[in-house]
Symmetry: C2
Subunit: 453 residues, 2 copies
């Protein structure tokens, strides 16, 4: 009998579920995807590069179009917002965002992929013109348009998106001030690493970048349009525009209303198979909680890479087969110009918080043979448990592919490898690609020397 599969949300995970189900030959189903947007399946991660001008056309950010799905047999319902889930009756209520008409939709299997939305801080006059958030393609178009007419900008928030916008504004000759409430930007990194990154970005900014930490915006001022930003510490910053990138929160209100169990940060709790606490309801992507494979704790780390894996996993289980998604390492990367910034696993701060007996090494070394003209510095920090010798995490910043070293560590962490084993990793070497002893192995050797030499 044909199964009715209903998907709520059109970001990364939802379309992934639809695409995977369409490729699943021995599962007979109908697929209906509902989204409150007028578009599906676009790369929000690519918005900073559209704003910067690297991607000339915002249309390029669309991964899959509704008609592609329709042609393959999935039904895409744009501008249809799910306003209620009734688990016991296996149905949802959707509302047309324009006409406000509602209708009921039955499902056999439901997938919640409602994603996340920007946090809008309650700051005086935040409704002024030229204050933006970054989520939709239209946001990107609006920001780029205003940026091209601006000399000065303020970015509220020093996270990944903030850093990427800093690159966009810097390379378009806009003088930009970043304001971060915490003591450091990129506060997921250890403080001394964040400080080094902030210093490098400021140095690379050639006077066009100012990073202010431990301060907060208390008010916007201006006549219709934003003209000034006032901070808690009394700064008055003239600006032509503001982008609010102060974090996101999961869209889980309808799930909570339906009695679906939430976890950390109000994200939906799921098991290994992407099943929620309610029968026949799955969830995937930014709206779900994650199990962290190193800390062994639940956490909320919304990332596009995870959303894709979870979407695939949900689709396989919806189709009656078995697949498990065991958890995350929190691997992530961002960049400012040619500086790549990445991490995996736990920082030293986090590892200590979770009760590990921590030993670390931090070292800076060239990413290629020193005599190659384009050799760049890589700074790497490794975090290891002294007793178990397990590698717990890595942070890296520097020349081009510093992030790829982090992936190599991620592979070791996933395998619960000890430092003693990892030390002997046979990494590729040729002068254009690394040093004879790769920076990653040098960092591992430093810890080895501390422990045994």
């Amino acid at each position: 009998m044909k199964q009715k599969v209903v998907i709520i949300g059109g970001g990364a995970a939802g379309p992934k579920i639809a695409a995977k189900l369409l490729r699943t030959k021995d599962f007979d189903c109908t697929i209906d995807l509902y989204t409150d947007e007028n578009i599906i399946s676009y790369s929000a991660c690519g918005l900073p590069y559209y704003i910067e001008g690297i991607i000339p056309d915002s249309e390029k950010l669309i991964v899959r179009r509704p008609q592609q799905f329709e042609e393959q047999g999935a039904n895409i319902h744009l501008n249809q917002k799910c306003i209620k889930i009734i688990p016991d009756e296996h149905r949802i209520i959707v509302q047309d965002t324009k006409t406000k008409e509602t209708k009921e939709v039955q499902y056999d299997k439901l997938a919640i992929t409602t994603g996340a939305r920007p946090i809008i801080p309650s700051i005086e006059n935040i409704e002024l013109k030229n204050i933006f958030t970054v989520r939709t393609i239209q946001d990107g178009i609006n920001i780029r348009k205003q940026m091209l007419n601006s000399k000065k900008a303020v970015i509220l928030g020093g996270g990944y998106i903030g850093i990427e916008l800093l690159e966009a504004f810097y390379s378009n000759n806009v003088h930009t001030v970043m304001i971060e409430r915490q003591n450091n930007i990129l506060s997921i990194f250890d403080p001394e690493i964040s400080s080094m990154i902030a210093q490098q970005i400021t140095d690379m900014g050639e006077g066009r970048i100012e990073i202010i930490t431990a301060d907060a915006i208390t008010a916007f001022e201006g006549n219709e349009k934003v003209e000034r930003v006032i901070t808690k510490n009394g700064r008055v910053i003239e600006t032509d525009m503001v982008v609010v990138a102060a974090g996101i929160r999961p869209n889980t209100e309808i799930a909570a209303d339906a009695g679906i169990e939430l976890g950390v940060s109000n994200a939906i709790r799921i098991n290994n198979r992407m099943q929620t606490s309610k029968k026949d309801i799955y969830a995937a992507g930014d709206c779900t909680e994650n199990f962290h494979l190193v800390s062994r704790n639940y956490t909320w780390i919304p990332l596009g890479s995870t959303a894709n894996k979870q979407g695939r996993c949900a689709a396989i289980n919806i189709s009656g087969k078995y697949d498990a998604f065991p958890g995350v390492l929190g691997s992530a990367v961002t960049r400012f110009s040619k500086l790549s910034i990445s991490l995996t696993g736990l920082s030293e701060t986090e590892a200590k918080k979770f009760g590990f007996d921590v030993i670390t090494s931090t070292m800076t070394k060239k990413d290629k043979a020193g005599y190659m003209p384009n050799a760049e510095d890589i700074t790497l920090k490794l975090v290891v448990d002294r007793r178990l010798k397990k590698i717990l995490g890595a942070q890296a910043f520097g020349g081009g592919d510093a992030d790829k070293r982090v992936n190599t560590v991620a592979s070791a962490i996933l395998a619960q490898q000890t430092l003693d084993e990892f030390l002997h990793l046979d990494m590729t070497y040729a002068p254009p690609f690394s040093t004879a002893v790769d920076p990653l192995l040098s960092a591992a050797l430093i810890i080895n020397n501390k422990m045994y030499m």
Copy 2:
């Protein structure tokens, strides 16, 4: 009591042993390094980039100079060739390469790091001018000088060094013919991968590169200088110069004469601690055999990265502490222009030879989000054991950091990770660095689909 440590050979491993011993504070020793060259510690791997002109000065290839060692207390004896080892008497005989005078040197611990040398095939008229091998800095200087006066060149051998020379000649506008005896260049890769690489290099060569396989040079012709190359299949190739890069062999004759056990390819057999079959004699670097961690067989894979690790390991054990070097994965990388070419572990061909039940996937995907203007194709082949699910090897070629994906697989192979575990690797994602599902994970998913879907 002061230990007399004697090192034979000044390439990578020997100087590494000396450097590590100099940093070892609680080991009282004298260090004497003998080499038959007039230089030590230079990067032979960098020669192609000096020849190409990327490294303007050959002096930059010198990693550590004799006087640096001397200042720190190690004695470097240049132009002193070890001609005999007498293990039972703990002494060696060295000969001055100029005066031919000999002397005896006593040791408490001896390290053999004699490296390898190019194989010179017995081809008619090989003594003609402008026929070169690539080993020393002087070779590099001679090749570059001749290249700058040449319009046509022939490279004998399609291995890593051959490919790197091809880049050097191509970028200096020299029309180059590569001649490889086997059916494929880079014969350590699977044939279909080698073929694709050869095709890409030829295409990138804009008519200046010709790759001939399954043919061999039978004679050189010319008047004093080489002018023509004659092949077994009857080709007559006009040329201004020839570089012979037809493989290397270990310098182990004096070790064999001393009764030290040799292994595969006549390389010196060593244990986990770099100890040879004779008491107090260690060996490290290109002159030693390697244990392959995947095939569980002995092999000879001479690489600078391994030489450095072995040198460190030998030094620690010489100093009375404990360190083990368990073996290699054979990870290696080379490049032609922007095409990086790398592998780790076993190829499909090798894995079958060693009796694994093999399942593979080969896929081509962009290395970055497709909408990024500098996205490049990466082709990846994964080799997995169907029964045990263990990952056995990976081959990759393509845009910039294809090789770094290979290192991430190497880490998984070292940890004996199964494909089922590896599939869940949390890799960093942002549009300038990868796709939301990294090419590496896509390759792993294809095998997963073959097995379970």
